[in-house]
């Protein structure tokens, strides 16, 4: 299977769309835009899993895809937007890294992922190999989003994007056991993180979601 075959091209297009959304996450300054890009990435992941389910003939992947569609494209973005609306954070987010430098760093990381992943998977099928390269890029860009944003929402969004990359890699492995369990457990981590933002009341205590405020409390007690 290679370029020109429908299953191959569609899964490439979906994975490529996810990578594109990672770059959107990197340059988007406004919080609602950030959440919309994350929801799109989650939706593309769901479609990629459904497509792989059809291409591999694996029923379990349909469930993974549906979970991703419902939770990542709808529920979590909705919860995050509710939170943001309640806190009145429609403005732009403070970034630790400017747009230009973070885009350059992002391109560098994507190139690194290609350099690392393309030769190593030479033994596997072309599909798995290129999926791995894209997934690794999404994971690395998610980390970059976490580093480049100074606020709690930005860190949650970055971690969720990383997790999307993980699941993309997982659905590419033919017949991976425990796939549903693993993707659910990874989702649980993200849900707990979102719940943490809700429940710890970072806003109540610090009047902001900017985690830099927390740094006053770090280090030795005086």
């Amino acid at each position: 299977m290679g370029f020109g075959h429908i299953p191959f091209d569609v899964s490439h297009a979906l994975a490529g769309g996810m990578l594109l959304m990672s770059f959107v996450l990197l340059y988007q300054r406004r919080v609602p835009g950030l959440i919309a890009a994350l929801a799109t990435q989650g939706g593309l992941l769901g479609l990629a899993a459904l497509w792989q389910g059809w291409a591999q003939g694996a029923a379990g992947l349909y469930l993974t895809g549906l979970i991703a569609l419902v939770a990542k494209a709808v529920l979590i973005p909705w919860a995050l937007s509710t939170l943001v609306r309640r806190l009145g954070m429609h403005g732009s987010v403070q970034t630790a890294l400017g747009i230009g430098p973070s885009m350059i760093a992002g391109v560098g990381l994507a190139a690194l992922a290609l350099v690392v992943a393309l030769p190593v998977a030479a033994g596997g099928s072309a599909l798995a190999q290129e999926d791995l390269a894209v997934a690794l890029s999404v994971v690395l860009l998610g980390m970059l989003v976490m580093i480049a944003r100074r606020n709690a929402i930005g860190q949650v969004v970055g971690l969720m994007s990383m997790e999307n990359g993980l699941i993309l890699a997982a659905v590419g492995v033919q017949g991976l056991p425990l796939l549903i369990e693993l993707s659910t457990a990874a989702l649980l981590l993200v849900l707990a993180l979102v719940a943490g933002v809700f429940l710890t009341g970072i806003r109540e205590r610090f009047d902001s979601l900017d985690v830099a405020f927390l740094e006053d409390h770090r280090g030795e007690r005086r």
């Binding site: 030769p119 998977a121 030479a122 033994g123 369990e181 693993l182 981590l189 707990a192 205590r205 030795e220």
Partner: protein, 477 residues
């Protein structure tokens, strides 16, 4: 029998989440943890269980025993400290339930033969420990929990990626995809798998689980988490969670090491371990907060254990070091926790002169810190000497770095010891109204029991303990 070690604490957690009475929950928590210890001991005495999804071997058995033991003593300590922690009602429930969930997940992470299940178990243990660190809801506790959560979240995400890549490497070689994540099945095919994919998996898993193990430069959550949660949690974090994470690294290393062409995880582990030892040996000098001091000492010791495991012939001393450190560090945390309650402050300057004002506690703390500093009669001295021998054979330059780190760290701990135990006596804080200061046995019992067991291990080294260490080393070959 093995499944009971996981399922029993989880059933207890369900019960503890439903019970409102805090005093009763604390007692039930202690009882459940003691049953957990009995179940772990049952693994040694009972017939060898058949391997399936869970497996038992020389590597995880000692860690399970230590886990059961520290779980039991930490819950007894927690019983005595429950007044001083002053949880709101919901927090008491969450804390006790999370404690049992943590113990069950910890056992599952050690027992699992499936890398996917191991990952899920470590994730559950992380979530439970984040909850326990945040339970006081002070700004510092929330900051510590958030930092722990975000760093650990990135770490376990990378570990899952590594796990998936490992499965990808084994996929063309395994006829039965169901066994794609099984450690034994992966070991069988590792030699023929794609070395590039294995190398990528090795890096991801080392960084991922290395974050959870608190290896430098991925350590920054540990001092905060150890300083801000309830003290019993510092003991289980430093005593158990770090072991489970290092165990995961060793299991993965034992798979990838079988492939001659893939990059070996050992040099990376050596560098991370050395960085941990050297950075911690310097950082220990600058600590003013007692719990942060011992958190840094955990970073130092997990670094030493990592160095041991990365050297040929170092697995037995590494295992001894892990066990000895867990026992001594949790004893020290219990004693320090009690001292903090008595003096009403976490600062080292405020806890001075403990050996004269509270002799039983002060001397217990003194012996514990001495053991951590590598003084006799405790096992860390022996594991460090063995490490030096192994290192000298491996590379003399390594020996110099190790001696430098060990002496700097040991001297820092002895300095702290003289301040905490012998300095001018500081006055006790007035006992809070309505909270009895009784219940000293819940601290002194665990502290002295840990010290006795640690000394016994050192004495029993040539006999049964030696055989146990050899069995652990055998698994990693």
């Amino acid at each position: 029998m093995m499944a009971a070690l996981v399922l029993f604490p989880w059933a207890a957690a369900l019960l503890l989440a439903l019970l409102p009475g805090q005093r009763l929950s604390a007692r039930l928590n202690a009882a459940a943890s003691v049953v957990g210890l009995v179940l772990a001991v049952g693994l040694v005495l009972g017939p060898e269980p058949a391997a399936g999804l869970l497996h038992l071997d020389g590597l995880n058995l000692p860690l399970l025993l230590i886990g059961g033991f520290i779980g039991a003593t930490a819950s007894v300590y927690s019983l005595g400290a429950i007044h001083a922690e002053a949880f709101p009602p919901w927090a008491g429930r969450a804390y006790h339930a999370a404690f049992q969930i943590f113990l069950g997940a910890q056992s599952l992470a050690l027992l699992s033969d499936n890398l996917g299940v191991m990952w899920v178990a470590i994730e559950i243990a992380t979530l439970a420990s984040v909850l326990m660190v945040a339970v006081h809801r002070t700004p510092s506790a929330i900051e510590a929990a958030w930092k722990f959560f975000v760093l650990a979240g990135v770490g376990i995400a990378l570990a899952l990626f590594g796990t998936i890549v490992l499965a990808m490497a084994a996929r063309p070689l395994l006829a039965d995809p169901e066994s794609l994540l099984s450690i034994s099945a992966l070991r069988a095919v590792a030699a023929g798998a794609d070395p590039g994919l294995l190398s990528l998996a090795a890096v991801m898993l080392l960084v991922g689980y290395g974050t959870k193990a608190g290896l430098v430069p991925l350590h920054s959550w540990l001092p905060d988490a150890d300083a801000e949660g309830p003290t019993a949690i510092s003991a289980v974090l430093s005593g158990l969670l770090l072991n489970a994470a290092l165990h995961a690294i060793l299991r993965v290393g034992s798979i990838i090491g079988l492939n001659a062409e893939a990059i070996s995880p050992a040099p990376f582990l050596l560098v991370l371990g050395l960085a941990s030892l050297l950075l911690a040996s310097l950082a220990l000098w600058r600590r003013r907060d007692a719990r942060r001091l011992f958190a840094w000492s955990s970073i130092e010791h997990i670094g030493i254990a990592a160095i041991c495991f990365s050297l040929p012939g170092g697995a037995a001393p590494g295992m001894l070091h892990l066990i000895g450190h867990s026992l001594l560090k949790s004893a020290v945390f219990y004693a320090v926790g009690r001292a903090i309650i008595l003096k009403g402050s976490q600062k080292i300057a405020d806890i001075s002169g403990l050996a004269t004002s509270h002799p039983a506690l002060g001397w217990g703390l003194l012996l514990g810190i001495a053991g951590l500093a590598g003084l006799p009669p405790f096992p860390l001295l022996m594991s460090e000497i063995r490490l030096l021998v192994v290192a000298a054979i491996f590379n003399p330059w390594l020996l110099i770095l190790l001696l430098l780190g060990l002496f700097t760290a040991g001297a820092a701990l002895v300095t702290a010891l003289t301040k905490l135990c012998w300095g001018p006596e500081t006055p006790d804080a007035p006992a809070p109204a309505g909270a009895p200061m009784a219940g000293g046995w819940t601290v002194l019992g665990p502290v002295w029991l840990h010290l006795a067991v640690a000394a016994l291990l050192a004495v029993g080294l040539p006999g049964p303990m030696g055989r146990m260490l050899a069995a652990a080393a055998g698994v990693l070959q």
